[in-house]
Amino acid sequence: MGILEEINDAVIYGKRKDVVAGVEKALIEGYDAGVILHQSMIPAMTEVGLRFERNEFFVPEMLIAARAMQAGIDILRPLLVEGGVEPLGTVAVGTVQGDLHDIGKNLVALMLEGAGFEVRDLGVNVSPDHYVAAAQEGVQIIGLSALLTTTMPAMKAVIDALEAAGVRGQVKVMVGGAPVTQTYADEIGADGYSPDASSATRLAKQLLNIE
């Protein structure tokens, strides 16, 4: 098994120490940081997402894989910056106003990062003006999360606020959460709906026309 495969395997199974050791070894062997990221680690997280969608992996497995991936990225980050490796896109994620649940939103953020996006986590109980500010600062996608049927309307409030601020056309809005459906996403004028964290990465790529 080559070193890139070893790192890939270690990320998939959440073996943080093995990821760190593997990344360090790969760098010593002369692998480019971008190659390690794009040919080993991102495919690993994609595989984690697919296994999650197939109900072969569950939230704990996804969390430890993301943690292992993060440990590797911590080593690679300065080299990636130095090498001018660009993220796939920028996404601001947050749980809408009135809702303080964050596991779903955190999983989406982890999977997006694992897919190569730059993620700005706006946190929980986020008011519409914070999403507007993120759009004005140039994020390409806004991800809205809600756990409760009573906080879903806050998603519409964000879209209305983006319209009112004149930035709706420059940002894509994707939504998700326990009570949210494609029908509701269509009703409020969102650009996309995702039922889980893994498919959220696919949706983000589609929204930005990334192959």
């Binding site: 959440g14 999650f52 969608e53 109900n55 569950f58 939230v59 704990p60 497995e61 969390l63 430890i64 943690r67 106003q97 009135g98 809702d99 303080l100 649940h101 964050d102 596991i103 955190n106 929980v124 109980n125 409760l148 049927t149 009573t150 906080t151 326990a178 009570p179 459906t181 039922p195 889980d196």
Partner: protein, 367 residues
């Protein structure tokens, strides 16, 4: 104008049991709930019973005084229930971490506390050793208090949580997730210790004369999956459920379970029915498993409890909501093994008038 309180209720827990077991055709719609939020109970009591509500806003670490249970029992009675749920309290339990935010529920005001989803009270073996396990003893007072006000024909259902308590309070869900891989022995120890506590509670109350059964609550899934791997549920959680169920059955009482989430893809529902031997299943969402579909697929094996979708209860306009509830009753009532109620709990974010529609349609059905 529909008045939800009955002047002369005639609770009949035995009839409810017979309907749920399928040994008797229902003569009327029986209602069942896991719980009602305080704001809902307060609104119903003040508006329809004309009584002041004894407010009790403390967490599960405190046992409410007797007047609280008097009004809870009376409300369920006057609404036409055959049972009243009594939740366990855990005096001396350390207060879990909460985050506080604006409460957006229709009947609420001020702030609402949410369980911290990250780490819980136990993050290490040191925390485990210092946790006051020995101070957590079963407290039978809620059942004793409620029993004093229980009308003839009515019984109590006793409730607490096991897995849910662990991932909400003891370990936190993210904490549990990481510890399952970082410190699996610690996870095992926490599940074992809390399992013993829950079992001790049920042992303390199940033999009481006016306790009709256990209505255990443990969310095990979310929209697309189980919260942790099915094999982990089978190893850590279901064996305890099986013990709780066996205890209830040894006393000739029922064991029903509430769980949110998708328990269908990986067959956990079959484990609950065939191995744990639950008598009734509760918690349905239309986007996961419509209650009518569940009853069609599993109704010959287990009773179907509640099931009126929360999103619809909250958001649907009156005509559509009435039509939906009638359709649920039309499909599920014939043959028995069904009791009407919300798909989850009567949460404070359900508009009160919508919950009244549920009660009204239940009363009207078949008449």
């Amino acid at each position: 104008m529909f008045d939800p309180v009955l002047p002369h209720p005639q609770p009949d827990f035995e009839a409810l049991l017979a309907v749920l077991k399928g040994t008797r055709q229902p003569e009327r719609v029986h209602f069942i709930e896991l719980s009602m939020d305080g704001e809902i109970m307060q609104a119903l009591t003040e508006r329809y019973l004309g009584e002041d509500w004894f407010e009790w806003g403390q967490g599960f670490e405190f046992t409410p005084p007797e007047p609280y249970f008097k009004q809870v029992v009376n409300l369920y009675y006057r609404l036409g229930f055959d049972h009243a749920p009594v939740w366990a309290t855990w005096p001396n339990h350390p207060r879990p971490a909460y985050r506080s935010g604006e409460n957006t529920a229709a009947l609420a005001s001020g702030q609402r506390n949410w369980t911290e989803e990250g780490s819980g009270l136990i993050t290490s073996w040191e925390d485990f050793e210092h946790f006051p396990w020995d101070d957590l003893q079963p407290d039978p007072r809620p059942v004793e208090y409620a029993t004093r006000y229980l009308p003839d024909g009515m019984m109590l259902t006793v409730n607490t949580t096991y897995f849910e308590h662990i991932f909400e309070n003891l370990l936190g869900f993210e904490g549990l997730s990481y510890l399952m891989y970082d410190e699996p022995e610690l996870v095992d120890a926490v599940f074992e210790h809390w399992g013993r506590k829950v079992l001790a509670y049920y042992e303390a109350v199940i033999g009481m004369e006016r306790v009709g059964g256990i209505f255990h609550a443990d969310d095990m899934g979310f929209k697309t999956s189980t919260l942790i791997a099915p094999d982990a549920l089978r190893r850590l959680v279901l064996p305890w459920h099986k013990r709780f169920a066996a205890l209830a059955h040894e006393h000739g009482k029922i064991f029903c379970i509430h769980s949110d989430g998708n328990l269908y893809k990986q067959g956990i529902i079959d484990d609950l029915i065939d191995d744990v031997r639950i008598d009734g299943f509760h918690a349905f969402e239309e986007i996961i498993m419509p209650v009518t579909q569940f009853n069609a697929e599993y109704g010959h094996r287990v009773a179907t409890l509640g099931g009126i979708d929360m999103d619809r209860l909250v958001r649907w306009p009156e005509p559509a909501l009435r039509q939906y509830i009638r359709a649920v009753l039309d499909k599920n009532m014939p043959g028995g093994r069904y009791a009407l109620g919300s798909g989850n709990t009567v949460a404070n974010y359900i508009p009160l008038e919508n919950y009244l529609i549920l009660l009204e349609e239940g009363r009207r059905w078949g008449s």
